[in-house]
């Protein structure tokens, strides 16, 4: 398969190992218990925010409409955003892939001879693996969101897009801090643990030359970067250091300021069950002459990294409606069983299954869209009504077929194609579309039911074998019922 050209090979887990990883994850009783209770908690919090199903439907319809409208005018809105940000004094950079984004950020840091960057929570910077790039350039990058701080300290990646350290217990964090934070002693008090982290971070905010953040919404008309957070670390990162660099995907743009509240309202309620987060930052320009604080320089890096591939397809464009609330993973029975790390991608869960193929190519990710029962829980809770199950089916088709006529091939198109599966489905269709053949088949299956294989692939791992009935329904009906 062609290697993805405009997507970088990140340290993902190869598709062939996906099954093994998920098998290991499922066998980890401790992990399963912690995800189950965490997801139960988040689901209950969300449900409490939406007591009125009709009202929720109306809000989702509006939010979907805003996102679809924004995407329908994406190129135009991005240009407008760039113009407006530039007019406001914010420098705009475009990155086609992760390497370019990292190079831009490293370049800015080097220009300022920076030694330390403090980071607010940014999944896009996880996507580009910015921390590695900074490290390679000899610049320290420190996560300041408490969850991100914890996973960074332990050399891990986030296991959830909203709650990066959700897979860790209090005890594990206590041990980690005692071991890795100089001067910290073992404590299981959450308040004390947070206190330890805060004390470390407070100093670093003051020392860092660069602050990095993500963006939740970029408003084209006003040139405003909106940032949602709970810990205040986002505000520190975007106001204390002299240089603030924001990084986001190109899909995050909306046209008008008034498009933000309906999305924000659903984002926080869907994500953590909060009416509003503790902090909501709106960043429009760097420090002006005469102002006493704020960064002297503000940059925005707009990243593509496969998003235009999703954008180019009418159906898959819906993937970009996502506002990264995480509700789909909270409600996903598969995510709940295997946790975030088993996916091996930056974005786990249902959203990860539909967006990662665009970012990393189908060759590396074709197993992901198959890891779903299509139960529909994700689509049901998605605040912007992304038809996730339909997109999973679509990606299953793209992974096993050539591009449809008139459609450009996706990166890794047909990577999961196998002659065996082509043959199996062709045979299946031949059998089930020819009634005489089918009748003969079920007649034989019932007569020879004693030959039913005792091992039936994955089915019998935890189930007794499936055995045909002694007689089919159609045979039992013969002579008894009206036939048509």
């Amino acid at each position: 398969m062609n290697a993805p050209e405009n997507t970088q090979t990140l340290s993902f887990i190869p598709a062939s190992e996906f099954k093994q990883r998920t098998t290991e994850a499922v066998a980890d009783a401790h992990l399963r218990q912690s995800f189950r209770s965490a997801m139960d908690f988040l689901m209950a919090k969300r449900a409490a925010q939406f007591p009125d199903a009709d009202a929720l439907e109306a809000q989702r319809a509006l939010a979907e409409h805003i996102r679809r409208y924004s995407l329908s005018r994406l190129p135009e809105l991005l240009e407008k955003l760039e113009r407006q940000l530039t007019a406001n004094g914010i420098q705009v950079h475009w990155a086609e892939n992760a390497e370019q984004a990292n190079a831009i950020i490293v370049g800015i840091a080097q220009k300022h001879s920076a030694e330390l960057m403090v980071k607010g929570k940014s999944m896009v910077s996880e996507e580009t693996e910015l921390n590695h790039a900074m490290e390679a350039a000899g610049i320290a990058a420190l996560e300041s969101d408490m969850g991100e701080y914890i996973v960074q300290l332990d050399g891990e990646k986030p296991s959830h897009i909203i709650m990066p350290a959700i897979h860790k217990t209090k005890q594990q964090i206590a041990r980690l801090f005692a071991e890795k934070v100089p001067g910290a002693s073992y404590t299981e008090s959450v308040d004390e643990l947070i206190g330890i982290g805060r004390a470390v971070l407070r100093e670093k905010f003051m020392a860092a030359e660069i602050g990095l953040s993500g963006v939740n919404f970029a408003v084209a008309e006003t040139g405003t970067l909106c940032l949602v957070e709970n810990e205040g670390n986002g505000r520190m990162c975007t106001t204390v250091p002299d240089v603030h660099i924001a990084i986001t995907g190109i899909e995050k743009v909306v046209e008008k300021l008034e498009h933000v509240p309906p999305l924000l309202n659903l984002l926080t309620r869907s994500a953590t069950g909060q009416i509003i987060t503790t902090y909501f930052n709106m960043i429009s320009r760097p420090r002006q002459p005469g102002e006493l604080d704020g960064p002297k320089e503000v940059h925005l890096v707009l990243l593509d990294n496969g998003r235009t591939q999703a954008y180019a397809d009418e159906q898959m464009r819906a993937t970009l409606q996502c506002i990264r609330c995480g509700a789909c993973m909270n409600h996903c029975p598969v995510y709940t069983r295997i946790g975030g790390h088993a996916y091996g991608t930056t974005y786990p869960g249902p959203i990860g299954e539909i967006i990662s193929p665009h970012m990393m190519g189908l060759a590396a990710t074709h197993a992901l869209p198959t890891a779903s029962t299509l139960c529909g829980a994700c689509g049901e809770v998605c605040p912007v009504k992304i038809p996730i199950p339909d997109l999973l089916i679509r990606l299953r088709a793209e992974a096993t077929h050539d591009a449809r006529p008139g459609h450009a091939p996706l990166v890794g198109q047909g990577a999961a194609r196998s002659a065996l599966m082509d043959f199996v489905w062709a045979g299946w269709a031949a059998l089930y579309s020819r009634p005489a053949l089918y009748r003969a088949f079920v007649w034989l299956a019932t007569r020879f039911r004693f030959l039913t294989p005792p091992m039936q692939s994955g089915w019998t791992v935890s189930r007794t074998p499936l055995k045909p009935a002694p007689r089919t329904l159609r045979e039992q009906l013969a002579g008894r019922h009206l036939k048509t």
């Binding site: 099954k19 998920t22 098998t23 499922v26 066998a27 399963r32 029975p333 598969v334 069983r337 198959t370 890891a371 779903s372 029962t373 299509l374 139960c375 529909g376 829980a377 689509g379 049901e380 089916i393 679509r394 990606l395 299953r396 088709a397 793209e398 096993t400 077929h401 489905w425 062709a426 299946w428 269709a429 059998l431 089930y432 579309s433 020819r434 009634p435 089918y438 079920v442 299956a445 019932t446 692939s457 994955g458 089915w459 791992v461 935890s462 189930r463 007794t464 074998p465 499936l466 055995k467 045909p468 009935a469 007689r471 089919t472 329904l473 159609r474 009906l477 009206l482 036939k483 048509t484």
Partner: protein, 258 residues
Amino acid sequence: MQRDMPTGPRPKDVYFFSTCLVDLFCPEAGLDAITLLEREGIAVHFPEDQTCCGQPAYTSGFGERARAVAQAQMQLFPNDWPIVVPSGSCAGMMRHHYPRLFADDPLLKARAEALAEQIFEFSEFLLDVLKVHWRDSGKPATVTLHTSCSARREMGTHLHVRALLAQLSGVNVVTQSHESECCGFGGTFSLKHPSISSAMSGDKVDALKETGAEAFISADCGCMLNLNHTLQKRGDSFQGKHLATFLRERLAAAGEKS
């Protein structure tokens, strides 16, 4: 999900689309459903050339194969009678996905859309079209309910199953924890990702058993087979019953014709 229910007189004839699973693996559920329909004075027609709705290929990404099978089914219903399907999942396929499967062919799409309107999940048909109101004659029983994801999220018929059971005065329905969660079957998912599927099915079986019910009821043979075979592998005698079988047993208990 909401649909306009046909008004006017009760239909005299219906088609029965048994689904491939019922035909080969749970024929008794099909027989019981037909018996209940006939008990209401309805002539049940079973098109002999029916096979499968095509869902396995469709959800596996082999839409072109699903089309071939779906097209073969679409020819089997010349009259505009309701088509009763004893499975939320297959009914959902025929009602919601057939029109999309043929989106690029105006004639077939029109046919699929017309057919979609004829499709009724079994419990939906009993409750909304026949408006049955049955008198329970069984012994007191405590059961729990497992609704398939398609019934819940595509067809909205989890409500119908519940409402039908609520008509049975001797039946106490207890609710499992995580009721809306998938049982882990997912068609080919159970073969592709056996460990995840097994974990989900195991949890579902635990939740059903924890209710203390004597059996669970499902209106989908896919979920039912998945859970029953999981229970059997554990050597557990707790089992699920198809809704049609359970209803027929309750009505037959006092010697009503069955």
